[in-house]
Symmetry: C2
Subunit: 535 residues, 2 copies
């Protein structure tokens, strides 16, 4: 292969090899092919993989890339499933794989934070936290224990505890600029500053936002704030009829705004429940189209779900939880078919009973635990592999070592942010239904009250990449979906490599010009992640 390389790329490979050791500059077809796979089709090819082991090496790599004008695309763990996995946002990039930089640099139990490198995964930090006293909880995304915390934070991803807004609970970024210079954010810019890890803004212009959802720098270190383990934790689960959407939104917004709920609450439609937890019913349907309504009704009955199925949690002393619970009951119960609370004690008791513990109507808690436990644990900041299984919805089985990229699972995420207001949420949901009515996929929606005022609707298109033509059909559905939602004012909080140009093209002229100026200033050679969040 080497002889086919353009001269500048060959030279870069040589220089990177000299810096990092040849074993950390990969050019073999198998390694590259593995990173070119995603959960949807893409024509973007990867030219090589470079694996720096330290910030100094990242600086060298970037300096070489800028000098020789070779585009590089940083990934932390590369598990950005549904948004592009490891795939660069344009063709011919060299993958800058940061997974070797996986040191937990500090865990501070008194001030409740961890300072980490980009290769540190959710599972790794969880394990490290299990060894400290007093105990601290992380906030995990639903993705998997193998996902990078920094990777998710710079994408402004979210989790499900009171620390669910990841970028809002992080500070002190260390960033390698495209020219190889090293810049710190916040008080990290000042020698010996004591508050670097505990205070976000520092003094002077706050630049950290520039390095999220961007291609302006490579984040090589970050402080993530952590939550002290609460004395008591109680989750709640509810189910509700279709027409309850509006009053549920109003009740949940009120509860969040008044502070009774301090964490993300989320509720999903029946398609999402069924595709997350079951397999496509091959006997009852043929996998060629959206599940027939009659089959859906059977599955809804079988899984004991409803049109909307929600969960949330309460954190604090027993008295605090009980006071908050009272408000949840007061505002939410009238809107829903059923509302159930769950804590560790009830789980233990139910496990010991000889007769089934009836939890929801027609649902035994012990049976329901397969469905409930991953969500329950996520709300305690414990990442799960369970969610991965949902990528296999239209596959025949989920292998032990699930790898959606390898197994040709089709999964395309999209999402839209909406004010937490009944009418707007209904309008958004109806648009999603309308679009999916024209496409052979299930409209799986997961709505999250990420903040007091905003709901994210995460919509997945799940399909089988081995089915001929399905990649194209799924992407058509996606494109129509995001176009329709943006036309109506519902823009995404986050993009995948498949959707970056859709949103970037809608930015107004002045903002687009400013983004271009920033890019030209920080990356005049245009070598860092071309096309990332800039279309």
């Amino acid at each position: 292969m080497t002889d086919t390389l353009p001269a500048n790329l060959q030279q870069a490979v040589n220089q990177w090899s000299a810096c990092l050791g040849a074993e950390h500059v990969l050019r073999d077809a198998a390694a590259i092919a593995a990173r070119e796979r995603a959960t949807f089709a893409s024509a973007h090819r990867i030219a090589a993989i470079v694996r720096p082991g330290s910030v100094a090496e990242v600086q060298q790599c970037m300096g070489i890339a800028t000098e020789l004008r070779v585009p590089v695309y940083p990934v932390s763990s590369g598990r950005n499933w549904g948004y592009g996995s490891s795939l660069p946002a344009s063709d011919g990039n060299v993958l800058l794989d940061l997974s070797r930089m996986n040191r937990i640099l500090e865990i501070n139990t008194r001030l409740a934070y961890a300072t980490i490198e980009p290769g540190v995964t959710q599972g790794q930090l969880l394990a490290a936290l299990q060894a400290v006293e007093p105990p601290l909880w992380l906030d995990a995304t639903g993705s998997s224990p193998d996902c990078s915390i920094i990777g998710n934070t710079v994408e402004r991803g979210f989790g499900h505890t009171p620390y669910g807004d990841h970028f809002g609970h992080a500070c002190a970024l260390q960033v390698v600029l495209p020219n190889g210079e090293l810049v710190e954010t916040g008080f990290g810019q000042f020698p010996g500053a004591k508050a670097t890890a505990v205070y976000r803004w520092g003094v002077g212009p706050a630049i950290d936002g520039l390095f999220t959802q961007s291609n302006l720098g490579v984040v090589t270190r970050m402080t993530a704030w952590l939550m002290p383990k609460p004395e008591y934790f109680q989750a709640f689960f509810f189910r509700a009829k279709e027409e309850a959407l509006e009053p549920i939104v109003e009740a949940l917004r009120t509860l969040r705004l008044e502070g009774s709920l301090r964490s993300a609450v989320h509720f999903v439609n029946a398609h999402k429940v069924i595709s997350s937890t079951g397999r496509y019913p091959w006997d009852a349907a043929d996998g060629a189209g959206r599940l027939p309504e009659s089959v859906m009704q059977q599955l809804i009955h079988q899984w004991g779900c409803e049109a909307w199925n929600g969960s949330g949690a309460l954190y604090g002393t027993p008295a605090q939880v009980s006071a908050a619970r009272r408000r949840v009951v007061e505002l939410l119960r009238p809107q829903v078919t059923e509302l159930r609370f769950l804590d560790d004690r009830l789980i233990r008791i139910a496990g010991r009973l000889r007769t089934p513990y009836k939890w929801f109507t027609g649902v035994d808690l012990t049976q329901a635990m397969a469905l409930v436990k991953p969500v329950y644990e996520l709300m305690k900041g414990i990442p799960t592999r369970q969610m991965l299984a949902s990528a296999y919805w239209r596959k025949r089985a989920v292998p032990e070592d699930a790898d959606p990229d390898r197994d040709r699972c089709g999964l395309i995420w999209s999402n839209a942010v909406c004010p937490a207001e009944a009418g707007e949420v209904r309008r958004m949901a109806a648009l999603v239904e309308q679009v999916f009515a024209k496409h052979p996929f299930e409209p799986a929606m997961s709505m999250t009250l990420r903040t007091e005022r905003a709901i994210d609707n995460i919509i997945s298109i799940t399909y089988d990449r081995d089915r001929p033509g399905e990649d194209a059909r799924a992407m058509m559905c996606h494109d129509e979906l995001v176009g329709t939602l943006m036309d109506a004012g519902f823009y995404p909080y986050r993009l995948g490599v498949h959707s970056m140009e859709h949103a970037a093209a809608r930015r107004d002229g002045a903002a687009r010009a400013l983004m271009r100026q920033l890019k030209a200033m920080l990356d005049p050679a245009g070598i860092l992640a071309p096309g990332r969040y800039s279309g």
Copy 2:
């Protein structure tokens, strides 16, 4: 005067007059002199005052300034007392006075926010909120009802409710760039976006931080999130001995981290209590130096204060407040001499009693209300004029229409951020005491747990500008103070025109270079607030 103007400034004045009307371009000596006054000495002179009334006019003003290379300095209300009032950060600027832009563009009671212009003051928004249902609370700084909300937010100032971090509870900035272009932040960059006012980050790089504590753009509109009025509000007050500082810090951090306290808690030393609420005891001391210890002891006894005097508040349903209160009692009471709770009902009852209601030992609540009420109301988001009086500490009296700039009050603020850890806070406080021991001023300290992990120490130097030599002596004290604190790693969260170069000079080389690049990119003519946050 006009004939002495440099040609470019004269031309700018002509063009601004043509755009805004001559009545909004002020050149008369009295108007200018009024804006050149601050609460400390400064050699910065103002060349003219320009008063645009709309964003289009701000754009025109900036375009003219850039074209003709005339430096302009934006102020909203110009009441940045102790940090420079209306004073530009360098000499010869034209003041861009935004106070005419004082429209409240929207109050959304369901989603709990207000979208405002820079001239909107705390008092103005409070009055507007008193007319809406359901009721919303703002978060006010201690400064005065006449302060601009946007002005304080872009300085990343703070208040005392759960929405105390002002920039953390604001979004959707509209910014005029130095060249006159208009840029929006967050989803405001996307046509018809519905979540602009409710979701901070938008999609793509987050640029809003660039326009806080900077000279990169003029913020002409902002959305401030507001807190729904809680069902029940209860404040608490405590006093404690000097040696209690360490356990108090540990207790308050724990309470904030666990979520029992959700708002800023603050505690001040005796010097701060006395100088905030009383007048300098001219009969007992001569005003030439720091109060003698014996006089201090008398005043401490007279005001019923202690070495440390704190306050905080609980917000929620009665049950939630009661559960939180239990934790406050459990953790804080063992550390303090006295801990008292206060709510509207107790205030009413005490007011009706015939005999004094003993609140703190030796302190009758009705008497104490003069001292307590401004703090109590601030924690409900009600701004007060009371704090203004503290600028008159070394004056003989506070006039009805207090104006510290006009009345030659000496007031220099400085501040330092510290991790919320006992040892660090003690170290910081000891450094402050050490510096003041060498200077003839009272070391008034006000410590605020702004976040779960960080304490801001706000330190005031209060003096009489009419006393010969005192301006210079006070600034010497300030300079030594901030130098000593920064040497020890305690950097300020915010600067005044008197301190900008101190901090900027300590920024590391890479960050300084990046700041310079940003400035050169957005303001190539260097005309927007030269020296502001850049030394």
